[in-house]
């Protein structure tokens, strides 16, 4: 029986389009998988990570030859133009390293001497106790008595303006003390005409002022009581730690802020006062 026109058309359509439809379906399926891969970051990274890693490895390999000279030149320029700030930032770290090494060597030496002197000392104390009447225990106490930190001033080196302070008891006008201390310091340093050397210690009756200079600031610590090499050592450690933790951080922030639109918050005077109290308030020297 002959096919009618409609059936013929249907058959023709089937012959013509079947392959294409299957093909189109296949493509649609592939697209769906691709879409899923792109949208799913994990799946995407599975594919892209090896490529990125490879490129990164190549980049790292090339850094010394491509970026190396630029970085070195930038660093050199930065160190040249901002020498003071760079020194200010690394001074506490270097200071700590050198101090640590020297202190260790001295400790070994002093232990050796102590061992040899211990017997002599005990003998001397016994003789003193016998003739002088002071108990051996009291003599030991007086030998061990340590100093106390009364006041700490963080002062701008050139202007003598007080940046932050800590005082155990009510102190006299700290702004004036900072100014006068700076004037005395400048005078002594000028008078001896020794560049790169600075006043480190002032002594008056029962008080000592320990001064540690950095490039932009200096720290003055007023100590009452005993102030020996041991206390000096401890105070230096306290100052280096404080400066490294808080002042060098301010410098970092100043550097970073030059390239940022929003200025980071530099540690202000109030916060520095608190940090000084925390760092020096309960410290044993």
């Amino acid at each position: 029986m002959a096919m009618n026109e409609l059936d013929k058309l249907e058959t023709l359509k089937e012959i013509l389009f079947t392959d294409d439809r299957e093909y189109a379906q296949k493509i649609a399926k592939r697209i769906a998988i691709l879409e899923q891969t792109i949208n799913d970051s994990e799946k995407l990274s599975e594919k892209t990570n090896p490529i990125i890693r490879k490129q990164l490895d190549e980049f790292v390999e090339q850094i010394p030859s491509t970026l190396g000279p630029t970085i070195t030149a930038t660093l050199k320029e930065q160190i040249k133009t901002q020498k003071d700030d760079v020194v200010d930032a690394i001074y506490p770290i270097l200071g700590k390293l050198v101090k640590k090494y020297v202190a260790q060597e001295i400790k070994v030496l002093s232990e050796k001497i102590d061992n040899q002197l211990d017997f002599v000392k005990r003998f001397k104390r016994k003789i003193k106790a016998f003739f002088g009447g002071a108990k051996e225990k009291d003599q030991l106490l007086s030998e061990l008595s340590s100093g106390n930190i009364e006041q700490v001033l963080l002062i701008e080196k050139d202007s003598g303006i007080l940046k932050a302070s800590y005082a155990k008891t009510d102190a006299i006008d700290e702004d004036l003390v900072s100014g006068m201390l700076t004037a005395i310091k400048s005078f002594v340093e000028d008078a001896f005409n020794q560049k790169n050397q600075s006043l480190e210690h002032i002594e008056y009756e029962l008080y000592h002022i320990h001064i540690q200079s950095f490039v932009n600031y200096y720290v003055a610590v007023v100590i009452s009581g005993n102030y020996g090499i041991k206390s000096k050592n401890k105070i230096q450690d306290l100052i280096f730690n404080f400066y490294d933790n808080f002042m060098a951080m301010n410098l970092d922030l100043i550097y970073t802020s030059r390239h940022l639109e929003k200025q980071p918050k530099i540690i202000g005077t109030e916060a520095l006062n608190k940090k000084l109290a925390e760092s020096f308030g309960n410290a044993k020297i």
């Binding site: 701008e156 080196k157 050139d158 202007s159 003598g160 303006i161 007080l162 932050a164 006008d173 702004d175 004036l176 100014g179 006068m180 004037a183 400048s186 005078f187 340093e189 000028d190 005077t269 109030e270 006062n273």
Partner: protein, 165 residues
């Protein structure tokens, strides 16, 4: 903590730097001249506006006839400077422009005010012709003895250094 700024007073011997500071800080004057040795530091809080004030840390430097001998370390870190001359003694201002150039050079572009002090010792006409003759331009004419323009001098300086870093 209050904002603090360092101000230095410079000038020849006996021009009245210490007296100007004394008048401003303590509102006192003494005819007994005492030479400043080295440096003397005082402090005064200055109200600039209703809610703005500043601590002036005033460095009174010893006078010198040759400003080149000024101790550079005392000038370091200054936020502002006042150059004082004595209107009754021409030797204190006859080289004013060179002196100012020297001070400016050492101060690194901070606000600087030029002050003719002791106007109570000369009459107005003589003073005007004297200043004109020596081509002296000054910002303030003061009398520490009578208190003329002393407050306005330091207030002006406080305002100048307030926003100046």
């Amino acid at each position: 903590m209050q904002k603090s700024k360092k101000i230095v007073l410079v000038g020849h011997f006996g021009v009245g730097k210490t007296s100007l500071i004394r008048r401003f800080v303590k509102n006192e004057f003494s005819n007994n001249y005492q030479v400043t040795i080295g440096v003397h530091i005082t402090k005064k809080e200055v109200q600039i506006e209703a809610d703005k004030s500043i601590n002036l840390i005033i460095w009174d430097l010893e006078g010198t006839d040759d400003l080149r001998t000024m101790r550079p370390s005392y000038l370091m870190g200054s936020h502002g400077a006042i150059f004082v001359f004595d209107v009754s003694r021409p030797s204190t201002f006859q080289n004013l422009n060179e002196d100012l150039a020297l001070v400016n050079d050492r101060l690194n572009k901070v606000p600087l005010l030029v002050v003719g002090n002791k106007i109570d010792l000369v009459n107005k006409e003589d003073l005007d012709s004297l200043l004109q003759e020596h081509q002296i331009s000054n910002h303030f004419l003061t009398s520490a003895k009578e208190g003329t323009a002393v407050d306005s001098l330091f207030t002006k300086m406080a305002k100048m250094v307030y926003g100046h870093d």
